[in-house]
């Protein structure tokens, strides 16, 4: 539990801002994040830029638990951040997410 106390929860968006199986961009304090709503309704968050060439993943396509980058179609599992093969070779950072009423909050370190 001590790890969670260090997390700073930041309001990212409203629940209804994201369709099921979709993603939106969230910018905060000079950083950019991608907030996902999985087909099962759960929310996830990762860094907003692809690890290949710093393209915004929020312009990409969500398919199940995969986000496909809009530039070269590199794929990540956004629930774990894992890069799924060329041309993405470096994993994405992920962030905890919690829902408070109608609000999606992401946990930043």
């Amino acid at each position: 539990m001590s790890a969670t106390t260090a997390i700073r929860w930041v309001e990212a968006c409203a629940v209804e801002d994201i369709d099921a199986e979709d993603v939106i961009r969230f910018d905060h304090e000079g950083r950019t994040f991608a907030i996902y709503r999985a087909p099962d309704g759960r929310f996830h968050a990762t860094d907003g830029l692809c690890t290949h060439e710093r393209v915004h993943l929020a312009d990409g396509l969500v398919m199940g638990s995969i986000i496909e980058c809009p530039k070269h179609n590199g794929r990540f599992d956004y629930t774990t951040g894992r890069a799924k093969g060329a041309p993405v070779c470096v994993d994405l950072a992920t962030y905890p997410v919690r829902i408070d009423g109608d609000t999606v909050l992401i946990g930043l370190g």
């Binding site: 979709d22 060439e53 710093r54 312009d59 990409g60 396509l61 398919m63 496909e68 809009p70 530039k71 070269h72 179609n73 794929r75 060329a86 041309p87 070779c89």
Partner: protein, 359 residues
């Protein structure tokens, strides 16, 4: 008399640094505005269209190959091998391309299987081309950055003509395969293929060599080129449409611009050509939105065409522009065809520093 300026198209020469200094490398490109909901619908994947097209493609390969084999030794085999060759040597170009993007099928392994087969057919090593094509999409027709500029200025007209039978491209491909089989890369390739991917390059090059040598040995053993008519030679005798279709993509158009509407062509084609080419004639659309599968490109075209230059009515109109442009570029490498945006099109963003048209 125009001054002749030869630029260095390699990725290791001075143009590479110049492109970076001018803000042309890994830059932001113009995109026609499309609301997210519409874009999602256009990007949506499905297996159906590519399964259907691939079934037709393999069935046509089988039937034309069967005819070629049956009539071997008579002139009747010629039309059958002509069809087989075009399906093998030319259609493979769009198949490796679409499946390499991972958009043709929804199911990843289906993309991968067709990608590997099509790459072999056109003798393009899968890992090398995956990475070179990635760079082509990052830095489309940016000199010193894009490894896939088919018609540099001045153009190699003899090379283009040789490639009607894939003679130059296959010679280059075989030299690369031979080098990769020894566990080495060319310096340009080392710039865009990460270390972690190189083992795959070397492994596949060895597999390609083994297959090609086995086919050659089979021909020698039976004293006939018939096996090579099915595997290997169709890369050459069926290559014409790789050039005919492929040159329309960018040849003669501007370099070093961050707007695909100015360096790519969309050319209307008949349904047979669109089947062979998997809609890559919608090339502005493909470059602007590479996430959109080939079967959705006509819809994307309809959506953005008012924001783009007038498409070409067909190959005839495209080549009436390309041939004179390439011919003129032999002597005047500064010349290029300037695409006109419609008056109501959204204006270009601020041009990057120094990116002034050559005329």
């Amino acid at each position: 008399m125009p001054t002749e300026i030869r630029r260095d198209y390699s990725l290791t020469g001075p143009e590479a640094d110049r492109a970076v200094a001018r803000g042309l490398a890994t830059a932001d490109w113009y995109q026609c505005p499309i609301p997210r909901k519409e874009m999602k619908a256009l990007m949506a994947r499905s297996d159906g269209p590519a399964l259907r097209d691939t079934a037709i493609w393999f069935a046509a390969l089988f039937l034309s190959g069967l005819g070629g084999w049956y009539f071997w030794g008579t002139w009747w085999c010629v039309p059958f091998f002509a069809v087989y060759g075009i399906l093998y040597g030319s259609s493979s170009d769009s198949r490796w391309h679409e499946c390499g993007h991972g958009t043709a099928f929804k199911t990843p392994w289906m993309n991968e299987v067709v990608y590997q087969i099509a790459c072999f057919m056109i003798l393009r090593e899968p890992t090398v081309w995956r990475w070179s094509h990635t760079r082509h999409h990052t830095d489309t027709i940016i000199v010193g950055r894009d490894p896939e500029i088919a018609a540099p200025r001045p153009p190699d007209i003899a090379g283009i003509l040789l490639n009607v039978f894939a003679l130059k491209s296959s010679w280059v491909a075989l030299k690369k395969i031979a080098l990769h089989a020894t566990g080495r890369l060319y310096p340009d390739e080392a710039l865009y293929i990460p270390e972690s991917e190189r083992g795959k390059v070397f492994r596949v090059a060895r597999i390609y060599l083994v297959i090609l040598i086995a086919v050659a040995a089979w021909c020698l053993a039976i004293g006939s080129i018939l096996p090579a008519m099915f595997i290997g030679l169709p890369t050459l005798y069926g290559a014409a449409f790789v050039v005919v279709f492929g040159l329309t993509q960018h040849a003669g158009l501007d370099e070093d611009v961050l707007d695909h509407r100015l360096n790519s062509r969309t050319v209307y084609m008949n349904p047979v050509f669109r089947f062979l080419y998997w809609n890559m004639n919608y090339h502005v659309e493909h470059h602007m939105f590479p996430m959109v599968p080939y079967h959705q490109l006509p819809k994307l075209h309809a959506r953005i065409k008012d924001d783009c230059p007038t498409p070409y009515s067909g190959l005839w109109e495209a080549y009436r522009e390309i041939i004179p442009a390439l011919w003129r570029q032999r002597k005047d490498p500064r010349f290029f065809v300037r695409r006109r945006l419609p008056g109501h099109a959204r204006p270009l963003g601020a041009p990057p520093a120094g990116a002034v048209p050559a005329e």
